[in-house]
């Protein structure tokens, strides 16, 4: 949703470690980070706030997989997962790498690396040589009936 980035960031985890002057916080163990409608779950999350400016916060989440969820203005969520999530709040830029998967409305993509500009809803997916990006478009009637997340392994 627009305005998510103005919301405070709540992070829950088993343990945390803080490096005050570097403005880097590391959370490990069932980490759940939320900001407005954005929700990230991971095994390890590193929150980096360069110069203490919360607007420029950068979240790097690592998991097996780490998941990402955000509600769109049109009421349809965007969700995804990957081994590593890199989320730059300032320019609403999300980068999923390593077995990345992103689902949005009635289509889902997976590949080795997916970049997604949440505001402009622009997505790019890449695959290493020999590997392929797979996009699945689900016919809309089906999509309304069961909106469960389609987990697709890229080959």
């Amino acid at each position: 949703l627009t305005g998510d980035t103005d919301k405070p960031v709540h992070i829950v985890s088993k343990n945390q470690s803080l490096d005050m002057q570097g403005n880097v916080a590391t959370f490990t163990g069932n980490v759940i980070a939320t900001q407005g409608s954005i929700k990230i779950t991971a095994d390890r999350v590193v929150v980096n706030r360069p110069g203490g400016d919360s607007k420029k916060t950068v979240i790097d989440a690592y998991g097996n997989p780490a998941t990402f969820y955000q509600m769109q203005d049109n009421g349809k969520p965007v969700q995804g997962h990957a081994s590593k999530l890199h989320y730059e709040l300032a320019n609403d830029f999300v980068e999923l790498t390593g077995n990345a998967f992103l689902q949005q409305q009635d289509s889902s993509v997976n590949g080795d690396r997916i970049t997604y500009l949440v505001k402009q809803q622009k997505m790019q997916a890449f695959s290493n040589t020999g590997k392929r990006v797979t996009t699945v478009l689900v016919p809309s009637q089906l999509q309304n009936k069961n909106s469960n997340v389609q987990v697709k392994k890229s080959n």
Binding site: K122, M123, R132, T135
Partner: protein
């Protein structure tokens, strides 16, 4: 067979598992090296893109996906544009081209200036614009081509400004059609239809082209009309270069009262016919050269009791079948039969009302042709009257003659008979007593009586009553054959005594009686003449013996029979115009006949028959057949037929065919052999050893490939007699025909068609 399987090798098969269900409910999977998308409207996939939905698959270098939410509708309309090495395929067709568009919801797909190939069947081509519509039912080509040839062979193709192939109707429609052999256009038509399968639906069938030296180029374009489930017709405009334009119409029908076929061929004017009239070869009126033929064949049983039969052929002129080809008659026919019959049959009686007339082609006859109009035949069977069976046969018939000088007659006949059938598993004895009572009413007999000598004068009314006694016994012995284990041989002696008193029948004219030929089974007949006008007296003993050999599966592998008629008193009818009748020394053993059959092994078999007549002191008729037959395409048959001249003169007294005085001695060979699954060669050669000239020579070669078949035929046959030079008139015919193939499931090598091409068509001997 082999050709079919070879052709199928060149045709792509749908290898993916067939997905059932509504295609719209299936997800679309897109694989690519890279994907850039601007949700939700469009996305670009690049790098070896592979889109799959249900049975459909689209591959190309790059694909642009557009998604639009139609206002008010929930479904998003997805269309894709594919660029670079586009390869589309589903379970019906494969399309290739540089550029394509597809609507993933409606499945409509376009591919630009590319090529297409049908799946699972022959059929391919190119197209400036190729469109798939209605879930791949229609393939619509703009400026496209079509051929059924396999990739790599461009034997023929049809180009059209627009081609619509309808898979459900199995029909291709082509506008501005240009038929090309290789790359040379040979035929143009504003509109052309091609059948694309075996489905029965109205439309043009595959055109056929032929060349024959006495008729020039012939072109046939049959149109099939599927009138109703039980009726259809084929209308074939048939252009014959040297003769003119003929329309052949064949109508087939099925009904509760039986199935039938009607053919009406019509030719407005025949140039060759007119020239032959003008130079006196044919009799006729030069400015009326219409030529037509009507043929009707019907056989049917209605409600198990009613029986309808029609066998009717009528032609415009006597030379019709010698000049024009028709399936319903050929140049050897001497007359056309025109018979109708209506019958009712029940458990122990039946009645048949029929009318029979004939159109005789030979002009030099005295036009003495009798008709039976109408004829009523009645049968009544009453079995198990105590140990006896009884049967009453009755007939009422009116004979009229085409030449009104000849007498007309009404004949009433009744024939009650009673017989005592004794039978058990190894013998049977059937003793029969019969009374034959016939009444004739013969009208305008004066002209006829003036033509004949005094003791053959006809009388107005004639009554003839005569008894007949017959006893026919046979015994069957069998034994196991010691020199081939498991085989069984039978020995079946048969004895028949026949007594018919003499009645002078010289006052009765001949309407439907002719001397019957006596092969072995004919020896045991109780009649020597057909019909009823001549019932010869008989006091004869017929003895015969048959031996059969059964193999260990009890299949009859060999049989041989020989028999003879021993006559105590000469057979007479009171008419003294042939060897067999009234000749006082026709006693003792007068006729011998035998036949044999031997199935040597699964492929080789032989059959033959021989008759010897002591009254003519000569072998009268004989024939023999040896055949090697492996399958319908691999056949070799040698046959020989002999008939002595005396026998012809005796049995066909008023015969006029030239050369009959030498009798028949015809040796024949027919062979057919395929080569390399696509060539088949057929040859037939018949030689008249008495006239020392060939009767019929035929050679046929057919090359069948996956998408066309070429048949070349040569036939040299006797068609007539040259009365001026007193020799047989031969006709050479070279025919060349092309058939488009691969559209239907017909991969035959054309062997049976070629084998039956000649005037002496091939008959399997077993």
């Amino acid at each position: 067979d082999d050709l079919a399987s070879q052709c199928m090798l060149g045709v792509p098969e749908y290898t993916r598992p067939l997905v059932q269900g509504n295609a719209n409910s299936l997800p679309v999977t897109i694989k690519s090296n890279q994907a850039d998308s601007k949700f939700p409207d469009n996305a670009v996939f690049s790098g070896d893109v592979d889109i799959q939905q249900g049975n459909r698959r689209l591959r190309s270098d790059e694909v642009q996906l557009h998604q639009k939410q139609l206002n008010g509708q929930t479904t998003t309309v997805r269309t894709v544009d594919a660029l670079g090495h586009v390869h589309y395929d589903d379970n019906q067709v494969i399309l290739r081209g540089p550029k394509a568009w597809s609507n993933l919801n409606t499945k409509d797909t376009n591919v630009w200036d590319g090529s297409y190939q049908m799946v699972g069947r022959q059929g391919r081509g190119t197209g400036e614009q190729m469109e798939l519509r209605d879930n791949s039912r229609y393939t619509i080509l703009k400026d496209g081509t079509f051929t059924s040839c396999l990739p790599g062979s461009n034997s023929w193709s049809i180009a059209g400004s627009e081609i619509i192939q309808d898979r459900k109707e199995q029909l291709a429609e082509i506008w501005n059609a240009r038929v090309k052999i290789g790359s040379i256009p040979v035929f143009y038509s504003p509109y052309l239809q091609l059948p694309m399968g075996d489905r029965r639906r109205s439309g043009f069938l595959i055109p056929n082209m032929k060349f024959a030296n006495n008729s020039g180029i012939e072109f046939m374009l049959p149109y099939y009309w599927n009138i109703a489930p039980q009726a259809d017709a084929t209308i074939t405009p048939h252009y014959i270069e040297k003769r003119g334009f003929q329309l052949q119409n064949e109508f087939r029908y099925l009904s509760k009262a039986g199935a039938g076929l009607m053919e009406f061929d019509y030719m407005g004017s025949d140039r060759v016919y007119r020239s032959r009239i003008e130079d006196g070869q044919y009799a006729g009126n030069p400015n009326d050269t219409k030529r037509w033929m009507f043929y009707w064949q019907h056989n049917g049983v209605y409600d198990q009791h009613w029986r309808f039969n029609v066998d009717y052929t009528r032609v415009s002129d006597p030379y019709y079948f010698s000049d024009l080809d028709s399936v319903y008659g050929n140049s050897t026919d001497g007359y056309a039969t025109q018979k109708f019959s209506l019958g009712y049959a029940d458990t122990n009686w039946d009645a048949t009302l029929s009318s029979k007339q004939f159109q005789v082609f030979q002009l030099n006859s005295t036009n003495n042709v009798y008709r039976a109009e109408p004829q009523l035949d009645l049968n009544y069977y009453k079995n198990n009257l105590g140990p006896f069976d009884s049967h009453i046969y009755a007939q009422a018939v009116k004979f009229t003659n085409v030449n009104s000088n000849y007498p007309d007659a009404t004949r009433l006949h009744i024939e009650p008979s009673i017989n005592l059938p004794l039978a058990n598993s190894w013998a049977s004895l059937n003793t029969e007593a019969k009374l034959l009572a016939t009444h004739y009413q013969q009208d305008d007999i004066n002209w006829y009586n003036r033509q004949v000598d005094s003791n053959n004068q006809l009388r107005g009314t004639v009554n003839r009553v005569m008894p007949q006694f017959k006893t026919d016994g046979r015994v069957i012995f069998d034994r196991n054959m010691d020199w081939s284990p498991g085989y069984t041989q039978t020995l079946e002696p048969r004895l028949q005594y026949l007594y018919i008193p003499y009645r002078n029948q010289s006052d009765i004219n001949v309407y439907d009686s002719t001397l019957l030929q006596s092969d072995y089974s004919g020896l045991f007949r109780d009649r020597s003449y057909s019909g009823l006008d001549r019932i010869a007296s008989a006091n004869q003993l017929t003895t015969g013996v048959t031996t059969r050999i059964f193999d260990n599966d009890l299949v009859e592998r060999f049989n041989a029979s020989i028999g003879q008629i021993y006559s105590f008193t000469p057979s007479r009818t009171g008419v003294t115009n042939n060897y067999f009748d009234g000749n006082k020394d026709n006693t003792g053993s007068i006729v011998w006949a035998g036949d044999t059959y031997w199935k040597i092994n699964d492929n080789w078999s032989t059959r033959g028959g021989l008759q010897y007549d002591a009254r003519l002191n000569s072998v009268t008729t004989g024939n023999a057949v040896l055949e090697y037959r492996r399958d319908a395409d691999r056949v070799l048959q040698l046959n020989y037929r002999y008939t002595s001249p005396q026998y012809i003169q005796a049995t066909l007294p008023n015969i006029q065919n030239p050369g009959y005085q030498q009798g028949i001695s015809q040796v024949g060979a027919t062979a057919s052999w395929p080569f390399a699954d696509s060539w088949s060669v057929v040859g037939a050669w018949y030689y008249d050893t008495k006239a020392r000239q060939p009767a019929d020579q035929l050679l046929g070669v057919q090359y069948s490939s996956c998408c066309y078949a070429i048949r070349v035929g040569y036939e040299r046959k006797i068609t007539n007699w040259d009365y001026t030079r007193d020799e047989s008139k031969y006709d050479n015919q070279i025919s060349f025909s092309i058939e488009l193939r691969g559209l239907s499931s017909d991969y035959s090598l054309g062997t049976d068609k070629m084998l039956r091409q000649g005037i002496l068509p091939y008959q399997p001997a077993f």
